[in-house]
Symmetry: C2
Subunit: 222 residues, 2 copies
DNA sequence: CCAATATTCCAGAACTCTATGGAACAATAG
DNA sequence: CTATTGTTCCATAGAGTTCTGGAATATTGG
């Protein structure tokens, strides 16, 4: 066979991208970065890894050109190198969800009986939000909200949920969203809201999926 | 952090799927399987690997539930476990193509000046084929054609191209397709067709992409 | 039942990957 | 200039991966 060498080189490159994602911690890093840029230190804390180890995982991701950096003073900010990376992570999650029953069972055991939260899909949310029927809450940390959020959403990090409740009309219908389908923030928020008598549901996925779907994204503080 | 253990388990599963694809040979196997089921032996020959090694790669893929098997007599046929697997491979290729400039340079060097082949996209092909303006050639091996092809396409493995030419009207416009955007069969066919004076172009991608786009697929011999 | 064929299992050598801790290297504040 | 902070580099031990041959297993045809 003639084209063997070229084929090998090509598949080598495909595998290079795949290898960079073939580690649980690196997938976690990529998901965090899909929310917006973060420093090494912040990523280390969020993932529970040592800084050294975090840095070296980030080097691997950079070696495969999946992430890029920006330096500001003494801090280095990492971000995804492009939307294709987020799209790929979504495809990977979908694959794992479809083929590995373990994913489902983990979600059931540890996260929540997801159906009970009656997830809202994106089109339904767009529809109802445009008619002012729902209040949309972004329950991620404030800096992730600033890096990109659903237009019109309120930034309500989980810790501040109780404070904000006072300002919400008791009859309001609420939709909470966070980082994605496997993020626990929105489910927790919904649970607490319901306990207080609100009519609350969650968005089926989160911010990166919203952006990838080509829907409008607002940036900056509230 | 409370949900650490659950998170770890979840990312573990995602990584399990990613790890299974994190090897050039396994990606090649998956791409071949995206064309239809194959025996271990056929896959070993197509990839240039030893049978033992091929088998063990296939075991890895099966361990991650990306492929399934069917046994018929002494042969074992492997196939993709679902469309999500093909979708994932496409996402991986797109990622590599978008982020790794090396992919582009390999394609340029070894495959062909791709723009010169004026690739036709799927919608254009559907359109023109429905009006009978083009002859569609499937230049993959005959068994892959049988496993699924574009309705109305002629099965013309590359070796038989010259024989078939005699039966084609000299004025016909031809579109050839094969396994996907990085498959060399269609480009080679187009080149030979053009050398003989035909007006030939290639489909931008191939069969698995056609199926994933939800377009109709015919099965069986011609 | 025996021989032939197709596939899988197993053991070993070379290699790569992960996590860790300590050293090195900016950039900033004082 | 010095101390501090944030990040990266380096060495290392332990674990996992890939490929190779040879043995084991299963199915079919005589």
């Amino acid at each position: 066979m003639e084209g063997r060498e070229a084929k090998d080189r090509l598949y080598e490159q495909f595998a290079r991208a795949a290898k960079a994602t073939a580690n649980p911690k690196r997938i976690e890093l990529l998901e965090l970065l899909a929310q917006g840029e973060h420093t090494v230190d912040a990523l280390a804390r969020a993932t529970g890894m040592g800084v050294t180890n975090t840095s070296s995982h980030l080097q691997v991701l950079r070696g495969a050109r999946l992430v890029e950096t920006r330096k500001d003073g003494t801090k280095v900010f990492y971000r995804l190198a492009g939307d294709e990376v987020a799209a790929f992570i979504v495809a990977l999650r979908d694959l794992a969800h479809a083929r590995l029953t373990e994913v489902d069972s983990i979600v059931r055991d540890y996260f929540d009986a997801r159906d009970a939260l009656e997830p809202v899909d994106r089109t339904e949310l767009v529809d109802r939000a445009s008619r002012g029927e729902v209040v949309v809450l972004d329950v991620r940390p404030r800096d992730e909200f600033a890096a990109g959020h659903i237009p019109g959403a309120l930034s309500v990090p989980l810790e501040e949920l109780d404070d904000v409740l006072a300002r919400l009309p008791k009859r309001a219908e609420i939709v909470a969203y966070c980082r994605g389908p496997y993020c626990v923030l929105a489910p927790q928020a919904v649970e607490r809201l319901r306990a207080k008598g609100y009519k609350a549901r969650r968005l089926a996925d989160g911010m990166p999926e919203w952006r990838l779907a080509g829907l409008p994204v607002a940036v900056g503080e509230e």
